[in-house]
Amino acid sequence: MSLTNFLIKITRFTAQKAKIYSFLLFIGLFLSLLPFSLLPVFSQQPVQIKTLMRADEAQQWQPLVNKFNQKYPHINLEVIEAPSDSNQVEDLYTASFLLGNSPYDLVYMDIVWTPKFAAAGWLLDLSDRLSEQEKDKFLTGDIQGGMYQGKLYRIPFRSDAGMLYYRQDLLAQAGYQPPETFDKLIQISQDLQQQGLAEWGYVWQGKQYEGLAAMFVEILEGHGAFWVDAETLEVGLDKPEAIKAVEFLRTTIEQKIAPPGVTTYAEDETRRLFQNGKAVFLRNWPYVYSSALNSPIAGKYSIKPMVHAVGQDSGATQGGWGLGISKSTKHPDAAWQVIEFFSSENSQREYILATGYVPSRTSLFNDPEIVAKYNYYPKLLSVVQNSALRPPIAQYAQASDILQRYLSAALTDRMSPEAAMKAAAEETRRLLRSK
């Protein structure tokens, strides 16, 4: 009785005085229920796979991403653009993993991040997903660089390696063969500089940054020295051969073979000097080859593996990018499908043809289509196969900073090579001992 009365009252109230309110209430209810009615539709949507990379490379990925999404309608691959600075991309990945629940299923990483990310437990072990047979099709250095403590965490997508560029025309003019040893390189440089054929002999990256450590690995390797043995954690920076390596770099500055500003140069400053015809020799990455094709020295230069000391072999610092799967992903299998697609021969061929990067599969260096466009790729293979890794240790970033600081001090004459390398070695030992 009272209830019915109450209901009638309410009805009258709404009907008479609050029509608008009830209408709004209805709309609100409708809107709040809408997502539930759409839910079944959403659940049939493809699984989302996200990855993050530098904006410039994300653009280059787009054609392959479109192709992938068409071929695999049940997966939706999304590439998120990050700032065009690798360090910042690394920071973004790091922050997302530290905060937990990383939004990225795939990690597109530089070779030197792999040990750290693996040691932190952020990556899935991919060892069982790649058969031995498949593994052998990639460059050894690229696979090695994706390993940490015997397990594989990164599948290489594109490779990179340091090498020696030289001016064929100038060497022929002065009657020289391309040098094989450090001494020969110095001798040829001095001779050509005296003849006035070039302003500078040999330019390299001497600024305090990661490129300095990468360049130095080749000089170390060529002297039969080493930085850190990843197996035994032995540090070799204060051995006589390593000090000789520093002395070689200092000699190039003291003998005015390299310009005084070389201690502030990164890759691009050195590339410009070489491209403008001001230097005979240049240490750099493969990208210079294609960029110098449209320069005053077009057709006058060639590449070869880095020089070495008598009785030693040359080494090319291994670089490159590859894909790993984040441990927090909910779709590891879909993520693996992306990796398979991108690291496949066909995708790599398409990508290399469009961008001029270096493939990670051995077969592509002699691929007819690629050689037709880039005739120097077979020569590139001989360089890339001599690869030397930067130490694959978890604390690599820190070890690299230590080396960079002391090497920079030795190169700018603030410390003697012995004192600098001794200090660097001791600090590195302390780092590796401390847990």
């Binding site: 690394e90 920071d91 790091t94 922050a95 750290k116 040691a119 932190a120 437990g121 600024k207 305090q208 940054y209 500003g261 201690t263 502030t264 978890a394 604390q395 970033a397 820190q398 900073d401 600081r405 920079s408 001090a409 700018t412 603030r414 600090e427 302390r430 401390s434 847990k435």
Partner: protein, 297 residues
């Protein structure tokens, strides 16, 4: 008796009313500091798979032998002291000018604070180009004046890179000090100067005997603010030099960032934070004590 209990009740209410503020303080100040201190007693890095392991004072012992930490501390101290002193002198000068009445004073006052309103990262990039050895404005001017023949590699040598950083920082934050000092100047009654002048004081005497003593509270505030800010400088250095060359401009905050974000060494990073925090508190305490003494005398 009843008076007493009433008093007690009022006190109780007073404390109750204070609780929200105290809670906020605890949450935003005490908790993070205590947490950092607690974390600094553990080893938590890649060597321990990012799991904390109690290690007592190991991190602090490691710091004693860490040349990079002391170098960055020295760099930070040099940067802070020189830039804050320069800013104070220039800021006071600008404040005195802006305090005079002249046509267009409002416009000039607005223009004067523009550097301070710019985002540091943007202005850092601009300064990096100004000091660029090939294309920089500074080298261009010096070359045109015939002071130098070849461009100076400003950011490539330790002392010059620090100089460039200090110049950029002084340019950016002097307006902040002058605005605070200007507010102080306006609170000094004009009659004091008139009376002092009638007693035969010259402008210098009225500046040193009226302006400076009465401005002391504002100077102290500006100093403390700037001191703490300059000590934690990060963005300007990161953008202009990245801490180089050979670590000559690396500040403590950049080192801490590297330790935590790049090396993932959380325990040691926390120890760095704790020691830096304590040193900063000590420096601020000593400075303010010194200035208070100065004021009393």
């Amino acid at each position: 008796m009843s008076n007493d209990s009433l008093d007690g009740r009022e006190k109780l209410i007073g404390w109750l009313l204070l609780i929200p503020a105290l809670l906020v303080l605890a949450l935003v100040f005490i908790y993070p500091i205590a947490r950092a201190f607690w974390l600094s007693l553990f080893t938590e890095n890649l060597g321990t798979q990012l799991q904390p392991e109690f290690s007592g004072l190991t991190n602090y012992l490691r710091m004693l032998g860490d040349g990079r930490f002391w170098q960055s501390m020295g760099n930070t101290a040099i940067f802070t002291i020189i830039s804050v002193v320069l800013e104070l002198i220039l800021g006071l000068g600008i404040a005195l000018v802006l305090n005079q009445s002249f046509r267009g004073r409002g416009v000039v006052r607005t223009i004067a604070i523009i550097p301070w309103a710019l985002p540091t990262a943007v202005m850092g990039l601009a300064w990096a180009w100004i000091f660029n050895d090939q294309y920089g404005v500074v080298n261009d001017i010096l070359q045109r004046l015939g002071v130098i023949d070849i461009g100076i590699n400003w950011l490539g040598s330790p002392a010059l890179a620090m100089t460039a950083l200090i110049i950029a920082d002084v340019w950016k934050t002097t307006p902040f000090i002058s605005i605070i000092l200007l507010a102080g100047l306006q609170s000094i009654p004009q009659d004091l100067y008139e009376a002092h002048a009638m007693d035969g004081a010259n402008p210098w005497q009225s500046f040193s005997q009226i302006t400076l003593p009465l401005l002391m509270p504002q100077i102290l505030i500006a100093l403390l603010f700037r001191f703490a800010q300059a000590f934690g400088v990060f963005d300007l250095v990161q953008v202009m030099t990245g801490g180089g060359p050979a670590g000559a401009t690396e500040t403590v905050s950049i080192y801490i960032y590297s330790t935590v974000m790049r090396y993932l060494d959380f325990g040691y990073g926390a120890a760095l934070v704790v020691v830096t925090f304590l040193l900063l508190i000590a420096a601020v305490a000593i400075t303010s004590l010194f200035l208070k003494r100065l004021r009393v005398s």
